[in-house]
Protein backbone atom coordinates (compact mmCIF):
# COMPACT_ATOMS: atom_id res chain seq x y z
CA UNK A 1 0.00 0.00 0.00
CA UNK A 2 1.30 3.46 -0.73
CA UNK A 3 1.95 5.12 2.57
CA UNK A 4 3.10 8.67 3.04
CA UNK A 5 5.03 10.62 5.62
CA UNK A 6 6.77 13.90 4.81
CA UNK A 7 6.05 13.20 1.20
CA UNK A 8 7.96 10.00 1.41
CA UNK A 9 5.90 7.43 -0.29
CA UNK A 10 6.53 3.73 0.23
CA UNK A 11 4.91 1.76 -2.44
CA UNK A 12 4.73 -1.90 -3.23
CA UNK A 13 5.09 -2.64 -6.93
CA UNK A 14 4.70 -6.01 -8.57
CA UNK A 15 5.82 -7.19 -12.01
CA UNK A 16 3.72 -9.83 -13.70
CA UNK A 17 3.90 -11.40 -17.12
CA UNK A 18 4.83 -14.39 -19.20
CA UNK A 19 8.09 -16.23 -18.61
CA UNK A 20 10.78 -14.62 -20.75
CA UNK A 21 8.94 -11.35 -21.30
CA UNK A 22 11.78 -9.53 -19.57
CA UNK A 23 10.50 -8.73 -16.08
CA UNK A 24 13.77 -9.47 -14.33
CA UNK A 25 15.73 -7.64 -17.00
CA UNK A 26 13.57 -4.55 -16.58
CA UNK A 27 14.07 -4.57 -12.83
CA UNK A 28 17.80 -5.12 -13.13
CA UNK A 29 18.05 -2.27 -15.61
CA UNK A 30 16.04 0.03 -13.36
CA UNK A 31 17.73 -0.87 -10.09
CA UNK A 32 21.31 -1.48 -11.20
CA UNK A 33 21.52 -0.08 -14.71
CA UNK A 34 22.68 -3.45 -16.03
CA UNK A 35 21.64 -6.03 -18.58
CA UNK A 36 22.75 -9.65 -17.99
CA UNK A 37 21.83 -12.63 -20.14
CA UNK A 38 21.94 -15.49 -17.61
CA UNK A 39 20.68 -14.53 -14.20
CA UNK A 40 20.23 -17.09 -11.47
CA UNK A 41 16.62 -18.18 -11.76
CA UNK A 42 14.24 -16.81 -9.18
CA UNK A 43 11.95 -18.95 -7.08
CA UNK A 44 8.64 -17.26 -6.30
CA UNK A 45 9.73 -13.68 -6.52
CA UNK A 46 12.79 -11.54 -6.01
CA UNK A 47 12.72 -8.39 -3.97
CA UNK A 48 14.37 -5.07 -4.81
CA UNK A 49 13.99 -1.56 -3.59
CA UNK A 50 14.68 1.66 -5.38
CA UNK A 51 13.97 5.28 -4.55
CA UNK A 52 12.87 7.89 -7.05
CA UNK A 53 12.40 11.62 -6.65
CA UNK A 54 9.31 12.74 -8.46
CA UNK A 55 7.98 16.30 -8.41
CA UNK A 56 6.78 16.77 -4.88
CA UNK A 57 7.77 13.50 -3.28
CA UNK A 58 10.26 10.74 -2.79
CA UNK A 59 8.89 7.41 -3.82
CA UNK A 60 10.49 4.29 -2.45
CA UNK A 61 9.47 1.32 -4.52
CA UNK A 62 9.39 -2.11 -2.94
CA UNK A 63 9.58 -4.18 -6.08
CA UNK A 64 8.49 -7.80 -6.40
CA UNK A 65 9.74 -9.47 -9.55
CA UNK A 66 7.60 -12.56 -9.84
CA UNK A 67 8.89 -15.63 -11.60
CA UNK A 68 8.26 -19.18 -12.43
CA UNK A 69 6.23 -21.79 -14.20
CA UNK A 70 2.47 -21.83 -14.38
CA UNK A 71 2.21 -23.63 -11.04
CA UNK A 72 3.93 -20.71 -9.35
CA UNK A 73 1.08 -18.44 -10.34
CA UNK A 74 -0.83 -19.73 -7.36
CA UNK A 75 1.62 -17.71 -5.28
CA UNK A 76 0.96 -14.47 -7.16
CA UNK A 77 -1.77 -13.13 -4.82
CA UNK A 78 0.75 -12.84 -2.02
CA UNK A 79 2.89 -10.56 -4.15
CA UNK A 80 0.14 -8.33 -5.52
CA UNK A 81 -1.84 -8.15 -2.30
CA UNK A 82 -1.63 -4.57 -1.08
CA UNK A 83 0.43 -3.48 -4.08
CA UNK A 84 0.03 0.17 -5.08
CA UNK A 85 1.31 -0.45 -8.57
CA UNK A 86 1.86 -3.18 -11.12
CA UNK A 87 3.77 -3.47 -14.35
CA UNK A 88 2.38 -6.12 -16.64
CA UNK A 89 5.05 -7.08 -19.12
CA UNK A 90 4.82 -8.78 -22.49
CA UNK A 91 7.34 -9.40 -25.25
CA UNK A 92 6.48 -7.42 -28.39
CA UNK A 93 7.72 -10.23 -30.59
CA UNK A 94 5.48 -12.79 -28.92
CA UNK A 95 1.73 -12.57 -29.36
CA UNK A 96 1.06 -15.28 -26.76
CA UNK A 97 2.81 -13.21 -24.12
CA UNK A 98 0.40 -10.37 -24.88
CA UNK A 99 -2.56 -12.68 -24.33
CA UNK A 100 -1.03 -13.77 -21.03
CA UNK A 101 -0.60 -10.11 -20.07
CA UNK A 102 -4.31 -9.51 -20.58
CA UNK A 103 -5.09 -12.35 -18.20
CA UNK A 104 -2.92 -10.78 -15.55
CA UNK A 105 -4.69 -7.47 -16.03
CA UNK A 106 -8.00 -9.20 -15.52
CA UNK A 107 -6.81 -10.97 -12.42
CA UNK A 108 -5.60 -7.70 -10.95
CA UNK A 109 -8.82 -5.94 -11.86
CA UNK A 110 -10.89 -8.54 -10.08
CA UNK A 111 -8.54 -9.24 -7.16
CA UNK A 112 -6.07 -6.48 -6.69
CA UNK A 113 -6.24 -3.16 -4.93
CA UNK A 114 -8.86 -1.10 -6.84
CA UNK A 115 -6.68 2.03 -6.81
CA UNK A 116 -3.69 0.19 -8.21
CA UNK A 117 -1.68 2.07 -10.82
CA UNK A 118 -1.18 -0.33 -13.70
CA UNK A 119 1.33 -0.07 -16.50
CA UNK A 120 1.49 -2.24 -19.58
CA UNK A 121 5.05 -2.69 -20.85
CA UNK A 122 5.66 -3.94 -24.36
CA UNK A 123 9.23 -5.03 -23.80
CA UNK A 124 12.10 -5.84 -26.20
CA UNK A 125 11.27 -2.77 -28.26
CA UNK A 126 14.83 -2.92 -29.54
CA UNK A 127 13.84 -5.93 -31.63
CA UNK A 128 11.81 -3.69 -33.91
CA UNK A 129 14.89 -1.80 -35.02
CA UNK A 130 17.27 -4.71 -35.30
CA UNK A 131 14.87 -6.85 -37.29
CA UNK A 132 13.42 -4.11 -39.43
CA UNK A 133 16.02 -4.44 -42.13
CA UNK A 134 15.80 -8.20 -42.25
CA UNK A 135 12.03 -8.13 -42.25
CA UNK A 136 11.89 -5.69 -45.15
CA UNK A 137 14.44 -7.68 -47.04
CA UNK A 138 12.55 -10.95 -46.93
CA UNK A 139 9.13 -9.38 -46.60
CA UNK A 140 7.99 -11.51 -43.67
CA UNK A 141 5.76 -8.77 -42.41
CA UNK A 142 7.42 -8.90 -39.03
CA UNK A 143 7.40 -5.13 -38.62
CA UNK A 144 3.80 -4.90 -39.71
CA UNK A 145 2.90 -7.51 -37.15
CA UNK A 146 4.70 -5.62 -34.39
CA UNK A 147 3.00 -2.41 -35.40
CA UNK A 148 -0.41 -4.03 -35.21
CA UNK A 149 0.41 -5.38 -31.77
CA UNK A 150 1.52 -1.95 -30.64
CA UNK A 151 -1.76 -0.36 -31.69
CA UNK A 152 -3.73 -3.19 -30.18
CA UNK A 153 -1.84 -2.84 -26.91
CA UNK A 154 -2.30 0.91 -26.85
CA UNK A 155 -6.01 0.53 -27.35
CA UNK A 156 -6.30 -2.27 -24.83
CA UNK A 157 -4.45 -0.19 -22.24
CA UNK A 158 -6.70 2.80 -22.82
CA UNK A 159 -9.85 0.78 -22.46
CA UNK A 160 -8.67 -0.85 -19.28
CA UNK A 161 -7.28 2.14 -17.46
CA UNK A 162 -3.61 1.24 -17.82
CA UNK A 163 -0.91 3.31 -19.34
CA UNK A 164 1.19 1.78 -22.04
CA UNK A 165 4.85 2.08 -22.98
CA UNK A 166 7.18 0.12 -25.19
CA UNK A 167 10.38 -0.57 -23.30
CA UNK A 168 13.73 -2.20 -23.81
CA UNK A 169 15.71 -3.56 -20.92
CA UNK A 170 18.52 -4.10 -23.38
CA UNK A 171 18.89 -0.51 -24.55
CA UNK A 172 17.30 1.01 -21.42
CA UNK A 173 14.70 2.76 -23.54
CA UNK A 174 11.71 3.87 -21.45
CA UNK A 175 12.76 1.82 -18.45
CA UNK A 176 13.28 4.67 -16.03
CA UNK A 177 10.39 6.45 -17.67
CA UNK A 178 7.87 3.76 -16.91
CA UNK A 179 8.79 3.74 -13.22
CA UNK A 180 8.74 7.54 -13.12
CA UNK A 181 5.34 7.62 -14.67
CA UNK A 182 4.04 5.17 -12.08
CA UNK A 183 5.58 7.22 -9.30
CA UNK A 184 3.80 10.31 -10.56
CA UNK A 185 0.49 8.57 -10.77
CA UNK A 186 0.52 7.08 -7.30
CA UNK A 187 -2.26 8.58 -5.26
CA UNK A 188 -0.97 11.02 -2.65
CA UNK A 189 -2.69 10.68 0.63
CA UNK A 190 -2.65 14.45 1.28
CA UNK A 191 -5.92 15.71 -0.18
CA UNK A 192 -4.47 19.15 -1.05
CA UNK A 193 -2.12 17.49 -3.46
CA UNK A 194 -4.01 15.49 -6.03
CA UNK A 195 -1.42 16.02 -8.75
CA UNK A 196 -0.60 12.35 -8.89
CA UNK A 197 -4.03 11.62 -10.24
CA UNK A 198 -4.23 14.04 -13.13
CA UNK A 199 -1.02 13.56 -15.01
CA UNK A 200 -2.64 11.12 -17.34
CA UNK A 201 -1.37 12.22 -20.71
CA UNK A 202 1.76 14.10 -19.89
CA UNK A 203 4.91 12.37 -21.00
CA UNK A 204 7.52 11.66 -18.39
CA UNK A 205 9.21 14.99 -17.97
CA UNK A 206 12.49 13.91 -16.56
CA UNK A 207 14.47 11.60 -18.72
CA UNK A 208 16.82 10.06 -16.26
CA UNK A 209 19.98 8.42 -17.44
CA UNK A 210 20.65 4.84 -16.42
CA UNK A 211 23.43 5.97 -14.12
CA UNK A 212 21.08 7.89 -11.86
CA UNK A 213 19.59 4.70 -10.63
CA UNK A 214 22.38 2.90 -8.93
Amino acid sequence: MATTGNKNINSKLVLLGDVGAGKSSLVLRFVKGQFIEFQESTIGAAFFSQTLAVNDATVKFEIWDTAGQERYHSLAPMYYRGAAAAIIVYDISNQASFERAKKWVQELQSQGNPNMVMALAGNKADLVDTRKVAAEANATGFVLQLTCLQEEAQQYAQENGLFFMETSAKTAANVNEIFHEIAKRLPRVQPQNPSGMVLMDRPAERVASASCCS
Binding site: M1, N10, K12, F38, Q39, E40, S41, I43, G44, A45, F47, S49, K60, E62, W64, A67, G68, Q69, R71, Y72, S74, L75, P77, M78, Y79, R81, G82, K102, K103, Q106, E107, S110, Q111, E152, Q155, Y156, E159
Partner: protein
Protein backbone atom coordinates in the same frame (compact mmCIF):
# COMPACT_ATOMS: atom_id res chain seq x y z
CA UNK B 1 25.75 -20.24 -3.33
CA UNK B 2 24.14 -16.98 -4.25
CA UNK B 3 27.38 -15.23 -5.07
CA UNK B 4 27.92 -15.72 -8.71
CA UNK B 5 31.25 -15.52 -10.40
CA UNK B 6 32.95 -16.94 -13.39
CA UNK B 7 34.73 -20.12 -12.48
CA UNK B 8 38.01 -19.04 -13.97
CA UNK B 9 38.39 -16.55 -11.14
CA UNK B 10 37.78 -19.01 -8.35
CA UNK B 11 41.24 -20.37 -7.77
CA UNK B 12 42.88 -17.01 -8.18
CA UNK B 13 40.47 -15.39 -5.81
CA UNK B 14 41.02 -18.04 -3.21
CA UNK B 15 44.79 -17.76 -3.37
CA UNK B 16 45.00 -14.03 -3.35
CA UNK B 17 42.54 -13.61 -0.51
CA UNK B 18 43.70 -16.14 2.00
CA UNK B 19 46.99 -14.39 2.87
CA UNK B 20 45.14 -11.38 4.23
CA UNK B 21 43.72 -13.44 7.02
CA UNK B 22 46.42 -12.80 9.60
CA UNK B 23 44.80 -11.83 12.90
CA UNK B 24 46.95 -8.74 13.38
CA UNK B 25 45.28 -6.93 10.56
CA UNK B 26 41.97 -8.52 11.27
CA UNK B 27 40.16 -5.49 12.59
CA UNK B 28 41.47 -3.15 9.94
CA UNK B 29 40.34 -5.45 7.22
CA UNK B 30 37.04 -6.42 8.78
CA UNK B 31 35.09 -4.17 6.47
CA UNK B 32 36.73 -5.33 3.29
CA UNK B 33 34.59 -7.62 1.23
CA UNK B 34 36.42 -10.59 -0.17
CA UNK B 35 35.40 -13.39 -2.45
CA UNK B 36 36.38 -16.90 -1.58
CA UNK B 37 35.48 -20.47 -2.26
CA UNK B 38 33.68 -22.48 0.38
CA UNK B 39 33.84 -26.19 1.20
CA UNK B 40 31.67 -27.16 -1.75
CA UNK B 41 33.24 -24.90 -4.33
CA UNK B 42 30.73 -22.06 -4.17
CA UNK B 43 32.07 -18.57 -4.43
CA UNK B 44 30.86 -16.46 -1.58
CA UNK B 45 31.29 -12.86 -0.69
CA UNK B 46 31.94 -11.89 2.86
CA UNK B 47 34.19 -9.94 5.13
CA UNK B 48 37.26 -11.24 6.89
CA UNK B 49 35.19 -12.35 9.87
CA UNK B 50 33.20 -14.58 7.59
CA UNK B 51 36.36 -16.14 6.21
CA UNK B 52 37.57 -16.80 9.73
CA UNK B 53 34.28 -18.37 10.65
CA UNK B 54 34.49 -20.63 7.61
CA UNK B 55 37.98 -21.67 8.61
CA UNK B 56 36.70 -22.51 12.09
CA UNK B 57 33.89 -24.47 10.53
CA UNK B 58 36.42 -26.46 8.51
CA UNK B 59 38.24 -27.28 11.72
CA UNK B 60 35.04 -28.30 13.49
CA UNK B 61 34.16 -30.52 10.54
CA UNK B 62 37.51 -32.26 10.98
CA UNK B 63 36.91 -32.76 14.71
CA UNK B 64 33.43 -34.06 14.04
CA UNK B 65 34.97 -36.50 11.58
CA UNK B 66 37.20 -37.87 14.32
CA UNK B 67 34.17 -38.41 16.57
CA UNK B 68 32.44 -40.41 13.84
CA UNK B 69 35.53 -42.49 13.10
CA UNK B 70 35.96 -43.26 16.79
CA UNK B 71 32.36 -44.44 16.98
CA UNK B 72 32.81 -46.64 13.94
CA UNK B 73 35.88 -48.11 15.57
CA UNK B 74 34.06 -48.92 18.79
CA UNK B 75 30.59 -49.82 17.54
CA UNK B 76 31.31 -51.19 14.08
CA UNK B 77 31.28 -49.48 10.70
CA UNK B 78 27.54 -49.48 10.18
CA UNK B 79 26.43 -49.04 13.75
CA UNK B 80 23.90 -46.39 12.82
CA UNK B 81 22.24 -48.73 10.37
CA UNK B 82 21.04 -51.03 13.15
CA UNK B 83 17.28 -51.49 13.19
CA UNK B 84 15.76 -48.46 14.76
CA UNK B 85 13.95 -48.82 18.08
CA UNK B 86 10.64 -48.34 16.31
CA UNK B 87 11.06 -51.43 14.17
CA UNK B 88 12.71 -53.47 16.85
CA UNK B 89 9.64 -54.98 18.51
CA UNK B 90 10.91 -58.52 18.31
CA UNK B 91 14.42 -57.78 19.42
CA UNK B 92 15.78 -58.98 22.69
CA UNK B 93 15.63 -56.46 25.52
CA UNK B 94 19.39 -56.02 25.61
CA UNK B 95 19.50 -55.35 21.90
CA UNK B 96 16.61 -52.90 22.19
CA UNK B 97 18.52 -51.04 24.82
CA UNK B 98 21.57 -50.73 22.67
CA UNK B 99 19.44 -49.64 19.74
CA UNK B 100 17.83 -47.01 21.92
CA UNK B 101 21.21 -45.80 23.09
CA UNK B 102 22.38 -45.64 19.51
CA UNK B 103 19.31 -43.71 18.44
CA UNK B 104 19.91 -41.10 21.13
CA UNK B 105 23.59 -40.86 20.29
CA UNK B 106 22.79 -40.62 16.63
CA UNK B 107 20.24 -37.83 16.95
CA UNK B 108 22.68 -35.71 18.93
CA UNK B 109 25.50 -36.58 16.60
CA UNK B 110 23.56 -35.67 13.50
CA UNK B 111 22.54 -32.32 14.91
CA UNK B 112 26.25 -31.66 15.34
CA UNK B 113 26.82 -32.51 11.72
CA UNK B 114 27.71 -35.42 9.51
CA UNK B 115 31.27 -35.18 8.15
CA UNK B 116 31.16 -34.44 4.40
CA UNK B 117 32.97 -37.68 3.52
CA UNK B 118 30.37 -39.76 5.33
CA UNK B 119 27.38 -37.80 4.06
CA UNK B 120 26.70 -39.92 0.97
CA UNK B 121 26.60 -43.14 2.96
CA UNK B 122 24.78 -41.82 6.02
CA UNK B 123 22.17 -39.84 4.10
CA UNK B 124 21.52 -42.73 1.77
CA UNK B 125 20.69 -45.15 4.53
CA UNK B 126 19.05 -42.91 7.12
CA UNK B 127 16.77 -41.07 4.70
CA UNK B 128 15.28 -44.30 3.41
CA UNK B 129 16.79 -43.86 -0.05
CA UNK B 130 18.67 -47.15 0.23
CA UNK B 131 15.48 -48.98 1.05
CA UNK B 132 13.61 -47.29 -1.79
CA UNK B 133 16.34 -48.20 -4.23
CA UNK B 134 16.41 -51.81 -3.03
CA UNK B 135 12.75 -52.28 -3.96
CA UNK B 136 13.47 -51.37 -7.59
CA UNK B 137 15.44 -53.43 -10.12
CA UNK B 138 19.19 -52.79 -10.04
CA UNK B 139 19.16 -51.25 -13.48
CA UNK B 140 16.21 -48.94 -12.72
CA UNK B 141 18.08 -45.65 -13.01
CA UNK B 142 20.05 -46.63 -16.09
CA UNK B 143 16.98 -47.99 -17.81
CA UNK B 144 15.06 -44.85 -16.96
CA UNK B 145 17.82 -42.59 -18.27
CA UNK B 146 18.00 -44.55 -21.50
CA UNK B 147 14.26 -44.69 -21.96
CA UNK B 148 13.79 -40.94 -21.65
CA UNK B 149 16.77 -39.91 -23.74
CA UNK B 150 15.81 -37.55 -26.54
CA UNK B 151 12.23 -37.12 -25.33
CA UNK B 152 10.93 -33.58 -25.28
CA UNK B 153 8.23 -32.53 -22.82
CA UNK B 154 7.27 -29.26 -21.13
CA UNK B 155 9.34 -30.49 -18.19
CA UNK B 156 12.47 -31.10 -20.25
CA UNK B 157 12.11 -27.70 -21.88
CA UNK B 158 11.91 -25.99 -18.52
CA UNK B 159 14.85 -28.03 -17.23
CA UNK B 160 16.97 -27.03 -20.23
CA UNK B 161 16.07 -23.42 -19.60
CA UNK B 162 17.11 -23.65 -15.96
CA UNK B 163 20.39 -25.60 -16.27
CA UNK B 164 22.63 -22.59 -16.94
CA UNK B 165 20.73 -20.68 -14.27
CA UNK B 166 21.39 -23.18 -11.50
CA UNK B 167 24.28 -21.94 -9.38
CA UNK B 168 25.97 -20.27 -12.38
CA UNK B 169 29.71 -20.03 -11.93
CA UNK B 170 30.08 -23.16 -9.83
CA UNK B 171 33.29 -24.94 -10.91
CA UNK B 172 31.57 -28.26 -11.56
CA UNK B 173 27.83 -27.65 -11.74
CA UNK B 174 28.27 -24.96 -14.36
CA UNK B 175 30.18 -27.12 -16.82
CA UNK B 176 28.83 -29.24 -19.68
CA UNK B 177 29.43 -32.31 -17.53
CA UNK B 178 27.61 -30.83 -14.55
CA UNK B 179 24.69 -29.67 -16.69
CA UNK B 180 24.39 -33.11 -18.28
CA UNK B 181 24.36 -34.91 -14.92
CA UNK B 182 21.82 -32.52 -13.42
CA UNK B 183 19.72 -32.84 -16.54
CA UNK B 184 19.60 -36.64 -16.35
CA UNK B 185 18.57 -36.60 -12.70
CA UNK B 186 15.82 -34.02 -13.21
CA UNK B 187 14.54 -35.43 -16.49
CA UNK B 188 14.60 -38.95 -15.06
CA UNK B 189 12.57 -37.85 -12.08
CA UNK B 190 10.11 -35.95 -14.25
CA UNK B 191 9.21 -39.26 -15.90
CA UNK B 192 9.14 -41.20 -12.65
CA UNK B 193 6.47 -38.90 -11.22
CA UNK B 194 4.45 -37.14 -13.88
CA UNK B 195 2.44 -35.23 -11.27
CA UNK B 196 5.57 -33.45 -10.17
CA UNK B 197 7.18 -33.55 -13.56
CA UNK B 198 9.65 -30.78 -13.04
CA UNK B 199 9.16 -27.87 -10.67
CA UNK B 200 11.54 -24.96 -10.51
CA UNK B 201 13.42 -25.08 -7.23
CA UNK B 202 14.16 -28.76 -7.63
CA UNK B 203 17.06 -27.76 -9.86
CA UNK B 204 18.83 -26.26 -6.85
CA UNK B 205 17.95 -29.18 -4.60
CA UNK B 206 19.12 -31.78 -7.11
CA UNK B 207 22.30 -29.83 -7.84
CA UNK B 208 23.31 -29.91 -4.19
CA UNK B 209 22.37 -33.56 -3.91
CA UNK B 210 24.70 -34.26 -6.83
CA UNK B 211 27.54 -32.40 -5.18
CA UNK B 212 27.12 -34.36 -1.96
CA UNK B 213 26.21 -37.81 -3.23
CA UNK B 214 28.84 -37.80 -5.99
CA UNK B 215 26.93 -40.23 -8.19
CA UNK B 216 23.91 -39.36 -10.27
CA UNK B 217 22.11 -42.49 -9.32
CA UNK B 218 22.36 -41.85 -5.60
CA UNK B 219 21.37 -38.22 -6.11
CA UNK B 220 18.33 -39.46 -8.01
CA UNK B 221 17.23 -41.76 -5.20
CA UNK B 222 17.78 -39.02 -2.64
CA UNK B 223 15.54 -36.74 -4.67
CA UNK B 224 12.95 -39.50 -4.86
CA UNK B 225 12.92 -40.18 -1.14
CA UNK B 226 12.83 -36.48 -0.41
CA UNK B 227 9.78 -35.83 -2.57
CA UNK B 228 8.01 -39.09 -1.85
CA UNK B 229 8.71 -39.62 1.84
CA UNK B 230 10.51 -36.83 3.66
CA UNK B 231 8.56 -33.74 2.57
CA UNK B 232 4.80 -33.30 2.72
CA UNK B 233 2.87 -34.32 -0.35
CA UNK B 234 2.26 -31.94 -3.22
CA UNK B 235 4.90 -29.38 -2.31
CA UNK B 236 5.83 -29.23 -5.96
CA UNK B 237 2.64 -30.34 -7.70
CA UNK B 238 -0.92 -29.25 -8.07
CA UNK B 239 -0.59 -25.47 -7.62
CA UNK B 240 2.09 -26.12 -4.99
CA UNK B 241 -0.72 -26.87 -2.56
CA UNK B 242 1.61 -28.65 -0.14
CA UNK B 243 3.79 -25.57 -0.08
CA UNK B 244 0.78 -23.39 0.67
CA UNK B 245 -0.09 -25.67 3.57
CA UNK B 246 3.44 -25.45 4.99
CA UNK B 247 3.32 -21.67 4.74
CA UNK B 248 0.09 -21.51 6.71
CA UNK B 249 1.48 -23.81 9.36
CA UNK B 250 4.53 -21.59 9.54
CA UNK B 251 2.36 -18.49 9.95
CA UNK B 252 0.63 -20.22 12.86
CA UNK B 253 3.90 -21.19 14.50
CA UNK B 254 5.55 -17.79 14.37
CA UNK B 255 3.28 -16.10 16.96
CA UNK B 256 3.73 -19.10 19.23
CA UNK B 257 7.50 -19.30 18.99
CA UNK B 258 8.39 -15.66 18.33
CA UNK B 259 5.41 -13.65 19.62
CA UNK B 260 7.08 -10.23 19.65
CA UNK B 261 8.35 -10.55 16.11
CA UNK B 262 5.02 -11.84 14.89
CA UNK B 263 3.17 -8.92 16.47
CA UNK B 264 5.57 -6.40 15.00
CA UNK B 265 5.44 -7.88 11.52
CA UNK B 266 1.69 -7.97 11.69
CA UNK B 267 1.75 -4.24 12.37
CA UNK B 268 3.92 -3.71 9.31
CA UNK B 269 1.48 -5.81 7.35
CA UNK B 270 4.34 -8.11 6.42
CA UNK B 271 3.50 -11.54 5.12
CA UNK B 272 6.28 -13.88 6.23
CA UNK B 273 5.64 -16.13 3.25
CA UNK B 274 7.18 -13.44 1.07
CA UNK B 275 10.54 -14.70 2.27
CA UNK B 276 9.77 -18.15 3.60
CA UNK B 277 8.30 -19.61 0.41
CA UNK B 278 11.69 -19.76 -1.26
CA UNK B 279 13.24 -21.24 1.89
CA UNK B 280 10.77 -24.12 1.87
CA UNK B 281 10.79 -24.76 -1.88
CA UNK B 282 14.57 -24.75 -2.22
CA UNK B 283 15.15 -26.23 1.23
CA UNK B 284 17.31 -23.19 2.03
CA UNK B 285 19.80 -23.99 -0.71
CA UNK B 286 19.46 -20.57 -2.30
CA UNK B 287 19.62 -18.70 1.00
CA UNK B 288 22.12 -20.32 3.32
CA UNK B 289 25.84 -20.96 2.69
CA UNK B 290 26.44 -24.48 1.41
CA UNK B 291 27.77 -26.20 4.54
CA UNK B 292 25.01 -24.59 6.61
CA UNK B 293 22.40 -25.82 4.12
CA UNK B 294 23.82 -29.32 4.23
CA UNK B 295 23.83 -29.29 8.02
CA UNK B 296 20.13 -28.47 7.85
CA UNK B 297 19.68 -31.34 5.42
CA UNK B 298 21.60 -33.70 7.74
CA UNK B 299 18.85 -33.19 10.28
CA UNK B 300 16.09 -33.02 7.69
CA UNK B 301 16.86 -36.51 6.42
CA UNK B 302 16.90 -37.96 9.91
CA UNK B 303 14.19 -36.03 11.73
CA UNK B 304 11.85 -35.09 8.90
CA UNK B 305 10.21 -32.04 7.37
CA UNK B 306 9.47 -30.36 10.70
CA UNK B 307 13.13 -29.34 10.68
CA UNK B 308 12.33 -26.73 8.04
CA UNK B 309 10.08 -24.95 10.54
CA UNK B 310 12.77 -25.02 13.21
CA UNK B 311 15.27 -23.43 10.88
CA UNK B 312 12.90 -20.84 9.41
CA UNK B 313 11.83 -19.77 12.90
CA UNK B 314 15.46 -19.62 14.00
CA UNK B 315 16.39 -17.18 11.23
CA UNK B 316 13.71 -14.82 12.51
CA UNK B 317 14.60 -15.44 16.13
CA UNK B 318 18.28 -14.69 15.65
CA UNK B 319 17.49 -11.17 14.51
CA UNK B 320 14.68 -10.45 16.96
CA UNK B 321 16.03 -7.13 18.24
CA UNK B 322 16.84 -5.83 14.78
CA UNK B 323 13.52 -6.89 13.37
CA UNK B 324 11.61 -5.21 16.18
CA UNK B 325 12.91 -1.77 15.23
CA UNK B 326 12.12 -1.98 11.52
CA UNK B 327 9.57 0.35 9.99
CA UNK B 328 9.36 -0.94 6.47
CA UNK B 329 8.82 -4.21 4.74
CA UNK B 330 11.98 -3.63 2.72
CA UNK B 331 14.08 -3.42 5.89
CA UNK B 332 12.66 -6.69 7.17
CA UNK B 333 13.53 -8.44 3.94
CA UNK B 334 17.00 -6.99 3.83
CA UNK B 335 17.72 -8.12 7.39
CA UNK B 336 16.49 -11.64 6.73
CA UNK B 337 18.35 -11.98 3.45
CA UNK B 338 21.57 -10.60 4.82
CA UNK B 339 21.33 -12.79 7.88
CA UNK B 340 20.67 -15.99 5.98
CA UNK B 341 23.40 -15.30 3.41
CA UNK B 342 25.95 -14.81 6.18
CA UNK B 343 25.12 -17.76 8.37
CA UNK B 344 28.49 -19.35 7.83
CA UNK B 345 28.46 -21.00 11.23
CA UNK B 346 25.95 -23.86 11.11
CA UNK B 347 26.11 -24.44 14.87
CA UNK B 348 24.97 -20.92 15.55
CA UNK B 349 21.85 -21.52 13.48
CA UNK B 350 21.11 -25.05 14.65
CA UNK B 351 21.54 -24.18 18.32
CA UNK B 352 18.84 -21.55 17.99
CA UNK B 353 16.73 -23.83 15.81
CA UNK B 354 16.62 -26.65 18.33
CA UNK B 355 17.42 -25.19 21.74
CA UNK B 356 15.80 -21.77 21.59
CA UNK B 357 12.83 -22.59 19.40
CA UNK B 358 12.07 -25.61 21.54
CA UNK B 359 10.64 -28.93 20.56
CA UNK B 360 7.86 -29.49 18.09
CA UNK B 361 6.80 -33.03 17.47
CA UNK B 362 6.05 -34.38 14.04
CA UNK B 363 2.64 -35.32 15.44
CA UNK B 364 1.64 -31.77 16.33
CA UNK B 365 2.89 -30.45 13.02
CA UNK B 366 0.90 -33.11 11.18
CA UNK B 367 -2.22 -32.07 13.05
CA UNK B 368 -1.64 -28.45 12.08
CA UNK B 369 -1.23 -29.44 8.45
CA UNK B 370 -4.50 -31.37 8.53
CA UNK B 371 -6.18 -28.30 9.95
CA UNK B 372 -4.88 -26.01 7.19
CA UNK B 373 -5.49 -28.29 4.23
CA UNK B 374 -9.19 -27.53 3.66
CA UNK B 375 -8.60 -23.76 3.76
CA UNK B 376 -5.75 -24.00 1.25
CA UNK B 377 -7.78 -26.18 -1.09
CA UNK B 378 -10.74 -23.82 -0.88
CA UNK B 379 -8.55 -20.81 -1.58
CA UNK B 380 -6.81 -22.37 -4.56
CA UNK B 381 -10.06 -23.64 -5.90
CA UNK B 382 -11.70 -20.26 -5.56
CA UNK B 383 -8.90 -18.54 -7.44
CA UNK B 384 -9.09 -21.08 -10.22
CA UNK B 385 -12.83 -20.70 -10.58
CA UNK B 386 -12.55 -16.93 -10.59
CA UNK B 387 -9.91 -17.01 -13.29
CA UNK B 388 -11.96 -19.36 -15.39
CA UNK B 389 -15.03 -17.21 -15.02
CA UNK B 390 -13.25 -14.15 -16.39
CA UNK B 391 -14.47 -14.18 -19.93
CA UNK B 392 -11.75 -13.61 -22.46
CA UNK B 393 -12.45 -10.30 -24.09
CA UNK B 394 -11.61 -10.47 -27.75
CA UNK B 395 -10.29 -6.97 -28.01
Amino acid sequence: MYGIQSKRDLALELQSQIPILRPSIHTRRAQIVVKFQDLYGFTVEGNVDDVNILNEVREKVRQQGRVWWALEASKGANWYLQPSIFEGQSLKASLKLSALANAITLKKLIRKGIPPVLRPKVWFSLSGAAKKKSTAPDSYYNDLSKAVEGKVTPATRQIDHDLPRTFPGHPWLDTPEGHAALRRVLVGYSFRDSDVGYCQGLNYVAALLLLVMKTEEDAFWMLAVLLENVLVNDCYTNNLSGCHVEQRVFKDLLPKKCPRIAAHLEELDFDVSLVATEWFLCLFSKSLPSETTLRVWDVLFYEGAKVLFHVALAIFKMKEEELLVTHHVGDVINILQKTSHHLFDPDELLTVAFDKIGSMTTGTISKQRKKQEPAVMAELDQRLRRLNSIKVDDK
